[in-house]
Symmetry: C2
Subunit: 325 residues, 2 copies
Amino acid sequence: MNKATAQMRPEESGRIAAFGIDLGGTKIAAGLIDTEGSVLASASVPTPATEGAEAVLDAVAGLVDALGAAPEAAGLRIRGLGMGAAGVIDAGNARVLSATDTILHWAGTDLSAGLLARTGLAVRAVNDVHAHGLGEAWCGAAAGKANALLLAVGTGIGGSHLLGGVPQTGAHHVGGHMGHFASPLATGVRCSCGRTGHLEAIAAGPAIHRNYLRLGGDPYVADTRELTALAHAGDLLAIQTLRTGGRAAGIAAGSLANILDPELIVFSGGMTGAGDLWWDAVREGFAAEAIDPLQQLELVPATLGNDAALIGAAGLFLAPQTSKD
Amino acid sequence: MNKATAQMRPEESGRIAAFGIDLGGTKIAAGLIDTEGSVLASASVPTPATEGAEAVLDAVAGLVDALGAAPEAAGLRIRGLGMGAAGVIDAGNARVLSATDTILHWAGTDLSAGLLARTGLAVRAVNDVHAHGLGEAWCGAAAGKANALLLAVGTGIGGSHLLGGVPQTGAHHVGGHMGHFASPLATGVRCSCGRTGHLEAIAAGPAIHRNYLRLGGDPYVADTRELTALAHAGDLLAIQTLRTGGRAAGIAAGSLANILDPELIVFSGGMTGAGDLWWDAVREGFAAEAIDPLQQLELVPATLGNDAALIGAAGLFLAPQTSKD
């Protein structure tokens, strides 16, 4: 094939895109993303978490195959496969350094080699919260900001500090563990990391529910969603525990602002859907904590919703700020 | 003068140096610093704080004149005047954005214009704690580290997060306010910023002394230095309050490590001279707070001592990582 012919190959002349994978303990979501951050096609499967890392990589490859065969993929020039994955990820080598037992034998998995062998694609990976942050910084609530903080408040709490749109993953790949941050409202309360007093222990969704039960709440209230509904119906203990979680998150956001001085703070995760009771408590906690020059800082919800992490993962190949690595 | 002659001028052919100024509320220290970070000559005067900003700039210019006339300055090629100054400093424009009343009318001072007019030198400035961090990252305890955290625990508490040796000053020039960070050991205690519960309110030197008095300590113990001596002599309340301050600083260091994931944490400021009682409490607080992958992180004392800020200030013109701005 001569050079002129090569230039005519459809995969060379077509639109550029990448696969983005959001890999969590219960679900693997995959998307085919273009250079604008639009999701051209998507699919998901339950994570075969108990079957181990090889089965999980097979499932990812299966999603990529399915999306690659979709009509939307025709003529696209695929740059690679970006992944946001649970656990501590060495972004330089796309390797899982450590992880909880949620996915069997997940720690140590070489995502790059395992997925290159299965798909033939170049692979990049970051921790899922950093993928989320990258998505919001690329084409979501923090687009165009040189210094932004994402705080994800859901089943757990994590964060991503983005400088020039690039998540700061730290010297040992554990940067952004914003949930493991001393909270004055969590003194003595056990955290998922085995220590006590951390933000996640009082402000994560399940922590709010546990706090409600600990303070004598109705044991038939099954989860934070029910608790939130109860709070909005006027139940005082539900209001109190929901507000404690929100206030703790707001205090943490204020402390983080005083340290990192971002242009804005983007909140994501399940708790951002808990309504004004939660948001008002977040804003009050922030106001009590942030120094004067930061009192007017914008606290905004994320805009990419459930697609943020897979868009951000694809952004490892497509976002102007990260794709040159 | 032709080009060849110009190249022979002594200021062109001589060793390169810069002036570094460490400007605090009570003292102005100035140094003539070479490209290795060595202090060739230094001088200091009390800050004429009650006489206002113009008098302070005159005093700085007087120090620069004196050092410029010193024998050590002969034949040096002076790049400029770098300053680490109290207050919130707009590093891009070398301007004091806001400050306490310690120096009269200090807020709003245009350091660049005021000192250029007086000395003819190019001027750069950062907040004094960032200057301190820059010094340690250039040629002190954090030399060669791509990601380092400096925590200064003295009369106040501040910090500097250095990426590639560059202090992260934030979007509103207030990054590094590590003292204004919720501490579980400071709940309800008033902070210098007017809020409550911040680290500085329990862990700064004067705060440790106030805590000692509040808990019923001997009112004839005049300051933290005396309290520290008493603690080392076995006084239990002095030990307790010294340790509370150290533990709070250690908890904060652990929280900050979980977020920023630095290669090491450098401690500076007066409290680092308080001996093993303080350092042991810092290490215990850190160990209680840092996540597993960071338990072995190095916590080290700063190595440049009182010269750190003026060396770092000169580094704004001389350090490889910052001088290209």
